[in-house]
Amino acid sequence: MIDFGFHITPSGTLNLDDVDQKTVDTLSRADYGFRTCIACGSCTASCPAGVFSETSVRQAILSVLNGKDEKALRLLSSCMLCGKCLMVCPRGINTRHLILSLQKQFEG
């Protein structure tokens, strides 16, 4: 490999080949819309739990895609399943089903 002089700091390295794709597969099966997320943030903006805590469906989806399942789970722990994110999603993603599927996978 040619050394251009650029370096990635070890703490920021994310090798997607090493990431377990199981969660991504499970969520894709639950609702394929999961793959169509454009990270617009409408869900996070409308979230009532987001007012009080760091709850974000958008970040959770990105975290799952980056293999950070634990973080995704933590980001959704305050979710009250009120469904506002589902109503505002421009891609029609069934967010409630995604959240339940994610929690179920780690419970089982």
Partner: protein
């Protein structure tokens, strides 16, 4: 002059035992079927009762001692199991069919036993053929010619009349099997193999009874149906009719029906009284399979009225998610299918509203969801529900999550408050905690309990006396789970209707026509149908939708469904809109933020407004 018709003056017996031992081998198939069925039912009953919690069992026992509940039990069993009033009200032909078979058969049994009690009472003892004698009474007797009394003739007439009544029901049932649409059903269920066995034997029982009794009518007596039939048979086959095969066939048919009964949908005939008694005792579903749920599962008649009711069935592929199949798979313990069906449901409650038996399948689905989802993790420690200041003795307005998504409703409600001069506090102006209903719909009961407690504490501490809600989803859970003693909980349509009736707001009527959409949670959920309609009628002309009231169609946005996707929801919305626009109204008006958003997003071609906006805009 003697009066020959009075029994007391008849010296020789009217009825003589034709078969001295009062037994013939042909009764065996019926007896075997009956004994098998009774044993199976006994075991089933013990199993249902054993799986009830001890408090439920106590409630059930106490309900039998309460004359009010007992009277309701008797009334419900008579109206629902025999007369089938609920079906009569919606589909008269279907109602006639069901009541003809149920009430007719019941009367045949009762009158048959009464006849034996009057004319051959010793045969009502178990050692003297009590099990079968009243059923095959006409085979065993010989009518003493010239000694028939009016009483005897009356029974002959009544029995023939009842038989005709049942036969007319059976004829309709056979017709319905092939042409259900003409009786008002678009979709019917597919019967299973055992269902077919029972179905065909049920169809066979009464024509065979007619034949058997007609063959013996010259010996054992008959009336307007059996006597002419007997004359015809004698004309066709000669004076000495060989009638035994028909009694065998009748008995075999009965036996077959009773042996197959426990494995078929016809279990509903025997389970429905149990369900009614348990429901009236106030027992609720606690487990998706055991105890009360088992009674509900077996009480399902698999009639398929829920197929046409379900809003999902605008698409034929969704028929398999209907309540009738959910119950069927629960009965068959098909776990994979049960979970899929349980998660798909919109929880709109229309199947329950239309169910002639009243099987609360939405509740069973929620229990099934809870079995998987209740243990899921949650952490609500960061959530806060700040107590609004200065709420003592005032009205509190709780908008809820969905109203915050449709701020036009909030603006309109506040406008009405202002115009009416009401002093109020706004509970969740800067955000708040969800009411807990969506969590309950998803089966996360522990989590729901936690948010309910947080909100409850906030409301009680505020000191308000009236709580006004703009979301029916919130309303349902506030009324059913919050236990806010001393605080009146109102939907804003009820509140505004009250303001209008007391003259605190005056609504100016405009020349606009509206159709009102009953939101599921407001109508079927909380039983509020009239207050919103009065408000709409005050502002303009109210037109009828295709289906409304407790038959209204879910908008498709319901939070009840966990797995329904965007496209399928869109189809439901389109179906609901078609239903609403049946009479070409200028505007669609609704009373739920979720319905408002769903309909608005679907761009139906006419404006969609909320009642609050209507009232706010038209109040002078």
């Amino acid at each position: 002059m003697t009066v020959p018709f009075l029994i007391s003056q008849v010296s020789s017996p009217e009825i003589i035992d034709r078969i001295p031992g009062a037994y013939d081998h042909f009764v065996l198939p019926f007896c075997i079927g009956m004994v098998f069925c009774l044993c199976w039912l006994g075991v089933g009953l013990v199993r249902v009762l054993a799986n009830l919690s001890s408090s439920d069992r106590k409630d059930l026992l106490l309900s039998f001692l309460n004359p009010k509940i007992l009277w309701k039990d008797i009334k419900d069993i008579f109206c629902d199991c025999l007369l089938h009033l609920k079906i009569w009200q919606r589909k008269p032909l279907l109602g006639y069919m069901h009541s003809a078979i149920a009430l007719g058969w019941f009367l045949l049994i009762v009158l048959g036993h009464l006849e034996v009690w009057l004319f051959a009472p010793r045969h009502l003892y178990l050692d003297n053929g009590a099990l079968f004698y009243p059923i095959f009474y006409r085979y065993f007797i010989w009518m003493n010619p010239g000694h028939t009394t009016l009483r005897g003739s009356l029974f002959f007439f009544l029995m023939d009349l009842c038989l005709l009544y049942v036969l007319s029901g059976i004829a309709l049932a056979v017709f319905k099997r092939f042409r259900s649409k003409l009786l008002g059903m678009k979709h019917t269920t597919k019967p299973s193999l055992m269902d077919r066995v029972a179905l065909y034997s049920l169809w066979g029982i009464f024509p065979l009874r007619l034949l058997a009794e007609s063959f013996t009518a010259d010996l054992a007596g008959g009336s307007f149906l059996t006597l002419p039939a007997n004359a015809l048979l004698r004309y066709l086959f000669g004076e000495n009719l060989y009638f035994l095969p028909w009694w065998w066939a009748y008995s075999i048919c009965l036996g077959l029906f009773f042996v197959s009964l426990p494995f078929t949908r016809y279990m509903h005939i025997l389970t429905e009284p149990l369900l009614i008694v348990m429901r009236n005792a106030g027992i609720k579903v606690r487990h998706p399979r055991k105890g009360f749920a088992e009674a509900e599962i077996y009480a399902c008649s698999s009639c398929g009225l829920c197929l046409d009711a379900c809003p999902m069935n605008v698409q034929k592929k969704n028929l398999r998610f209907s309540s009738v199949y959910f119950i069927r798979f629960l009965r068959r313990h098909n776990e994979k299918k049960i979970n899929r069906i349980a998660d798909k449901c919109l929880q709109c409650g229309k199947c329950l509203a239309l169910c002639p038996v009243g099987v609360d399948s939405p509740a069973i689905r929620r229990r099934q969801r809870a079995a998987g989802n209740d243990p899921l993790p949650f952490d609500y420690s960061a959530l806060k529900s700040p107590v609004p200041a200065g709420g003592e003795g005032k009205v509190m307005y709780f908008a809820g999550c969905m109203s915050h998504l449709t701020p036009r409703i909030i603006k309109a409600v506040l406008e009405v408050f202002r115009k009416a001069g009401e002093e109020f506090v706004f509970a969740d102006e800067d955000g708040g905690i969800c009411c807990g209903r969506p969590l309950m719909l998803a089966g996360k009961d522990r989590a729901a309990r936690e948010v309910i407690e947080a909100n409850r504490k906030m409301i009680l501490e505020s000191g308000c006396t009236t709580l006004v809600l703009s979301c029916p989803i919130c309303l349902k859970v506030f009324r059913e789970e919050y236990n806010l003693d001393g605080i009146e909980i109102l939907h804003y349509t009820e509140y505004m209707d009250r303001l209008a009736s007391r003259g605190r707001i005056i609504i100016d009527r405009k020349a606009v026509s509206y159709v009102y959409h009953d939101p599921c949670e407001l109508g079927r959920g909380c039983g509020i149908y009239d207050a919103p309609r009065r408000l709409v009628e005050a502002s303009g002309e109210l037109r009828k939708a295709g289906k409304e009231g407790d038959e209204s169609v879910c908008c498709g946005g319901s939070l009840g469904s966990l797995t329904l996707n965007y496209e399928d929801r869109g189809k439901i919305t389109a179906g609901a809109l078609e239903n609403l626009l049946a009479n070409n109204p200028d505007r669609i008006v609704t009373a739920c933020p979720l319905c408002l958003k769903t309909f608005s997003d679907a761009t139906p071609g006419v404006p969609v407004v909320d009642i609050a906006e209507l009232v706010a805009g038209d109040t002078v």
